[in-house]
Amino acid sequence: MTIQTPNGFSLDASGKRIVVDPVTRIEGHMRCEVNVDNENIIRNAVSTGTMWRGLEVILKGRDPRDAWAFTQRICGVCTGTHALTSVRAVEDALGIAIPENANSIRNIMQLCLQVHDHLVHFYHLHALDWVNPVNALKADPKATSELQQKVSPNHPKSSPGYFRDVQNRLKRFIESGQLGPFKNGYWDNPAYLLPPEANLMATTHYLEALDFQPTIMRIRTVFGGKDPHPNWLVGGVPCAINVDGVGAVGAINMERLNFVRSVIEQTITFVDNVYIPDLLAVGQFYKGWLYGGGLSGKSVMAYGDIPENANDYSPANLLMPSGVIIDGNLKEVHPVDLRDPEQIQEFVPHSWYKYPDEKKGLHPWDGHTEPNYVLGENAKGTKTNIEQIDENAKYSWIKAPRWKGHAVEVGPLARYVVGFAQGHKEITEQINLVLKTLDVPVDALFSTLGRTAARALECQWSAYKMRYFLDKLVANIKAGDTSTANVERWEPSTWPKEAKGVGFTEAPRGALAHWIRIKDTKIDNYQCVVPTTWNGSPRDNEGNIGAFEAALMNTKMERPEEPVEILRTLHSFDPCLACSTHVMGEDGRELTTVKVR
């Protein structure tokens, strides 16, 4: 029997059911089930978030100035983005303006995360969906060297001898029989399309990227003291600037600024010479595999981020685009209002939570979180040994957020589609270059590969923007401004009795916002709606499927028992499950309104 979803998908659960649990190479825990028809084409998709930690409940009653540290621990992969979102929410609630230097430093830290997260995702979480390291043993190192010099003439590590050394190391590793992370991979699956020399090049870069990536995050260690989980501050940043006087060595000084500049330049070089050429090289072989579009050609959303000037979060001041596109109409980009109770709402009819009235959605400021783990009557197995999920009942620890009732995709591709629709100059140039190089039409963007490409382009964009904000920081210091924190409202005695605020960022995985309510100087309610809540959303009360589920639909699998295609498409979203299951809220009382910045 076929069910038509309001957002345009035909679901048919009559074919063979395939279960993937755990879905690996993601952050957190996730399960996926699909039904395939006789031709092994996916006709029904079900994604289940399989963890819940309850941070919402834990934050209640805490000091709002501490919230960044708690929420930062929502995720150690997109580390920092929750902390930044949190300090913005508290600053919004309390009407705190931060210094320009703090804005520049925060932007550098956030852009640094984008670069690092995207790079590590591509090479270490996603590459093995496209690249076959075992097949790399068959490569001729000379042919790999030629390929390397062709796709990236400026990358110094390109000699036949270099690739032979890597191949030998790989050979010893594989022939030892101790395959480590490559064990039980799907290495003879026909879904892998790269020739041996490309596999050797990409596997080599898997290792080069693994060795280079710690360097990138050292930028955040300078400003935040450690990484993962650097330190942040409500009202600015904790690192003071001192380039002239006594004690300069105990602060952000010339040596530290030089160090950051050096890392930024190395990062730009690596992304330009390795990541982007690899994307194009791999894309060249897979451009016929354009499954996985899902919601990307229909409904996408971005909040925007990276404020040019401090304290102005309006779209015109944000360097990353914001807006919503509905039903594939790129001519109209709707504005997003995070405060409007009618725009963003969360639903739970298919989530393991309880609402007083489950027909209705709730805005985050009025949210409600009460776990309710039950399986549907058609589920197979037991409550502690699930063999098959019943998607007609509750089936995930993720809620179903909707924008004006629409399921939307968020993330790098959503941001790039919104930017493209708005004519964002840099984004449009980047997209056009990729389309031209790969010789594919604009529609090719709406695919798994498009999602992967947008992430790489955004990584490059972010690397260059780090340079921009470091220049801006230095110029501001040169102009005599060394301020990094505003402490006027640091003391709780200066706060109103009640306040509420919202903060947002574009996390590497997509639009992220935190809603906070403060009462008597303590957190009264705190709610996060995170990218993977949007993308990993289960069905809602209208039957709309979420972005993961939509993207899996109608994909042909080479071998249904080997989930290469499922992993490929799910990974293209870079799922973050620890993030997605942290909704919170309660009671829904009327609150005083706080200044909107």
Partner: protein, 357 residues
């Protein structure tokens, strides 16, 4: 054909002469007779990599992210050459039942000879179904993998103490590993996350010396967790001198004075941040201007706010002196610390003839 630890050293440009010297020194430092050096060299040259199952419970993956940030050794060398990371759902190629089959296989094939590395912890509420692996509670997978392991490494504060999801009121009833596994040696490597180079050092230590590191009473490697951050903090002289930051970004902050009054938990936190430092020794929280939040201590989320010291310390009659030298009462991490700060400052004040600074 296995690449051994020796191969790695050779590939990194270390000569056989240096390698043998390393073995002699190591043997000597372990109190072994000189004839043990060749035995050690032989072991490092020939032994296969130790299998490691790295499981993930309720966590945020910051420990894995820290691990791959290690500057020495690089994560690639650890994974390709020192250990055999056979199961780690964050980076492994296989998924679903092909992934789960690996746990069974390693448990069977390397009974008693593999290391279980735990990131995150199991929740006990809802029959353990707040964390589901393969349709079953994570706790099932943990117990299965623990049954035949040689030892357990509890990575980070989740596995060691409970960390953020176990903060009050601990809605999922998340518990550290040692609360559910009682019959195996457990090495706790706390921190949120632990220092990257400390993580790889613990692994390297086990792979090199074929024994577990010496632990303190709380189960942490003594070599990294036996001293407080405060003991080795480069800002300690300012603490002793009574030179404190009074507000963010004030003149004292720019001079790099002590963060104690801003809530720094360095005086009660046992970790190597002020010695090993972070990310290749580049910095650590205090060096970058923020107090230590005590992330390697048991229950650090519930030990009062990160910016608070305890107030109203009335002991040793130090209140007046403390005020004289600019110690505004605001909250302390421990009464002893306040006294310690005051006494240090008082001493200095006396040396200066009772005047401030």
């Amino acid at each position: 054909m296995t690449e051994t630890f020796y191969d790695v050293l050779r590939r990194q440009g270390i000569s056989r002469r240096s390698f043998l010297k390393f073995c002699s020194l190591t043997a000597a430092s372990l109190g072994l007779a000189p004839e043990f050096a060749p035995k050690m060299a032989y072991a490092l040259e020939t032994k296969p990599r130790t299998p490691v199952l790295w499981l993930h419970g309720l966590e945020c993956t910051c420990c894995s992210e820290a691990f791959i940030r290690s500057a020495h050794p690089l994560a690639s060398d650890v994974i390709l050459s020192m250990i055999s990371l056979d199961y780690d759902d964050t980076i492994m190629a296989a998924a679903g039942h092909q992934a789960e089959a690996i746990v069974d296989k390693i448990v069977e094939k390397y009974k008693g000879n593999y290391i279980l590395a735990c990131e995150g912890n199991p929740p006990l509420n809802a029959d353990g179904m707040y964390c589901i692996i393969g349709g079953k509670p994570y706790l099932d997978q943990l117990k299965k993998a623990a049954a035949d392991c040689k030892a357990i490494i509890s990575w980070g504060s989740c596995a060691s103490w409970g960390c953020v999801q176990a903060a009050r009121p601990n809605p999922t009833q998340a518990v550290p590993i040692h609360k559910v596994i009682h019959d195996k040696p457990i090495i706790k490597v706390p921190g949120c996350p632990p220092i990257p180079e400390v993580m790889t050092a613990v692994i390297t230590y086990i792979a090199t010396f074929e024994k577990l590191p010496e632990l303190d009473r709380q189960g942490r490697p003594k070599m990294f967790y036996s001293q407080r951050i405060h003991d080795k903090c480069y800002r300690r002289p300012h603490f002793d001198a009574g030179q404190f930051i009074e507000a963010w970004d004030d003149e004292s902050a720019r001079k790099g004075y002590c963060l104690y009054k801003m809530g720094c938990k360095g005086p009660t936190t046992y970790n190597a941040c002020s010695t090993v430092r972070w990310n290749g020794g580049l910095s650590f929280p205090i060096q970058s201007g923020h107090g230590c939040i005590g992330c390697s201590e048991d229950g650090f989320w519930d030990n009062g706010g990160f910016y608070n010291r305890l107030t109203n310390i009335h002991q040793f009659g130090i209140e007046a002196n403390a005020d004289q030298i600019g110690m505004a009462a605001a909250g302390v991490v421990g009464a002893g610390i306040a006294a310690h700060a005051a006494v240090s400052a008082v001493k200095r004040a006396r040396q200066n003839g009772g005047t401030n600074q």
